[in-house]
């Protein structure tokens, strides 16, 4: 089946192109629209330029890094409980 085989290719190029266009558009549109009536926020910090970009990027990276730090204490061998109950 031809259409099924087309599905099997993973649309890498298309994805990256769309991604960078979206990224650039979001940065520009945020600056353009921020003080217009299009945007209505409840907290003053949401009006900081590119607040959601920074929040998304740093939120994501902090989440991973803090979790990795936590992992130092709580990541154990797969059979942790089995081994403990045997001893």
């Amino acid at each position: 089946m031809i259409h099924m085989n087309m599905l099997r290719r993973y649309p890498k190029k298309l994805f990256w192109r769309a991604y960078f266009i979206g990224l650039a558009a979001s940065l520009v549109l945020n600056l353009v629209w921020l003080r217009t009536e299009l945007f209505h926020y409840h907290f003053s910090f949401q009006y900081v330029p590119e607040f959601f970009a920074v929040f998304g990027l740093f939120g994501c990276m902090l989440l991973i890094l803090i979790a990795k730090g936590m992992g130092y204490f709580i990541v154990k061998d797969e059979a942790y409980y089995e081994k403990r109950s045997r001893n």
Partner: protein
Amino acid sequence: MVAWIHPGFVIFLGAFLIPFIPWRRVKLAYFLSLPIAGLALLILTTLGIFGSIPLWPQALLKWRLPLMQYTLVLGKIDKLSMVFAYIYVIASFCMNIYALRVKNDWEHVAATLYVGSALGAIFAGDFFTLFFFLEAMSWAPVFLIWFRGTRKAQGAAVRYALWHHFSGACILAGIVIHLNQTGSLEITHLPWGWGGEYIGYHLMLLGFIINAATTPFHSWLSDTYSEATPSGSIYMTAYTTKTAIYCLIRTFSGVPLLMWMGAIQAVFALFLAVLENDGRRLCSYHIISQIGYMVAGVGIGTEIALNGAISHALCHIIYNALLYMGAGCVLVVVGTAKFNELGGLYKYMPISFWLYMIGGFSISGFPLFNGFISKVMTIEAAELIHNAPIYLLLEGATVGTFLHTGLKLPWNMWLQGRDEPPPHLRAKLKDSAVNTPANMLIGMGILAFLCILMGVYPKILYDRLPFPVTFVPFTTTRVFSNMQMFIFTFMGFWLLRKLVLGHPTYTLDTDWFVRIAGQKVIWFCEKPLMAFASFVDAKVMDLVDFVVWASRNPAVALRIKREEVILGMKRLLTNPAHLTEKEQSLEEKRRNYPGELPKFSLGVSLFLILLALSLYLILYLMSLS
């Protein structure tokens, strides 16, 4: 007016017939028809065949049973119970399709009983009925876990039962105290405070939040759901926790404690998800995180927040079942859901991948998917009460959710930048784009369609919520901010993608305290306590033996013991070599024991009897004074 038929009872009682149908096709058709029958009954109820449904919070009361001086209400029908019931049966239909290939009939029975009792709990109008169905709901999943058949699953099933019986006991204690204080069993909004007079409500809330897997009592969920059978776990994702949310909405809405617990839980579970290696455990942490939104919504307690909590619970049932089905597909097809063993499956299972991604976009809250229309409602509620920390926690959880379910899981399972899976997995796959069984794809497809339908046309859900909805989800502000946030979350993920690869590890959770304490208790019972018990046992038996031995000839026994003591002392003072003769004679006496018994004359015997009687008399007189 026709008598109402309880859809929960149809499904609950219908479950028992499944194993007795001899023809497999008929059996499966019957299994699929149960939720359809339930749905038909619900539609008839909505159409007003059984009486018109009044506006919230009034209710249409059906199926009342007298019990002692109380009345049990099995059918309390209002907008809240109806909207939950609809989603329950629709989700159950898709799950049944997904589970069609399961050979074990009893797994179908357990699943159907589970759905039936969940509906029973939803329609319960009094606390006893609610408790009965919650207990039924805590048993059915035990079997869904048990039927996996592995040793780990058996342990998990027992832990599941223990957690839920603890929460059940808390709820029952709360109900009894509430009944004692008020004399009423009706499910209503309960008072809340910190004083001692609220102890019953504290217990009840504890029971509900354990069932809802609220931090710090969330660990049973990730621990047990990931051990259940691939299709059994799908049912589990939907019913227990959402029913608990339903109970919280009915009884404890507007408790500020819940608002904070929910917001913290939404973020906390994500930290643990970063470290997770098992796909289904990762999805479990996302159930916990998403429940955080609902619990926070219940805690905020305004109309929009409750609407948000309800719609999020219902959307969550749909998309989370879809996510679990996606991870379950991989587990069924290649036999593992561990990230460190997977990757490169895209070429062989692209349809499951894209259906999973619809669930992933939904849970993350992409516009036009159903997570968006419910999640932003709760977030908006937090904005409207002007609580910045709650808002930031909930918005932060959105970032983390997209990171894990939208990026980390699909990346690790299907892609990892490879075109081919590891060779041992490749051997299990046909060279085709469709490796997933068709029934699974159909089940997932219907759920994916519902995700998009509700996301594109939210009115279908909003009109059925108990409070009127004036909220408009698709504003430029929200769509734009969410999209920008996701674009940059992706950037963060791409930069740190090496850090979120799977490693064969196990991440400890809050149940560590309970499990280690449990292991210590068992160790204490098995080792020191048993040693002490056998020591006491041995000593008592020695004493008894000695008394029996001595009573055979007390005079000689006394002599032997005296000589033993004297010999022991001599051994300390003199050279033991000199004492061998005496030891030999003592040994001789022991061997001849009891030997010739002394013969008493009649007079001596009478004297002994009189002596005993007089001793008894003295004791008696002493006790009188």
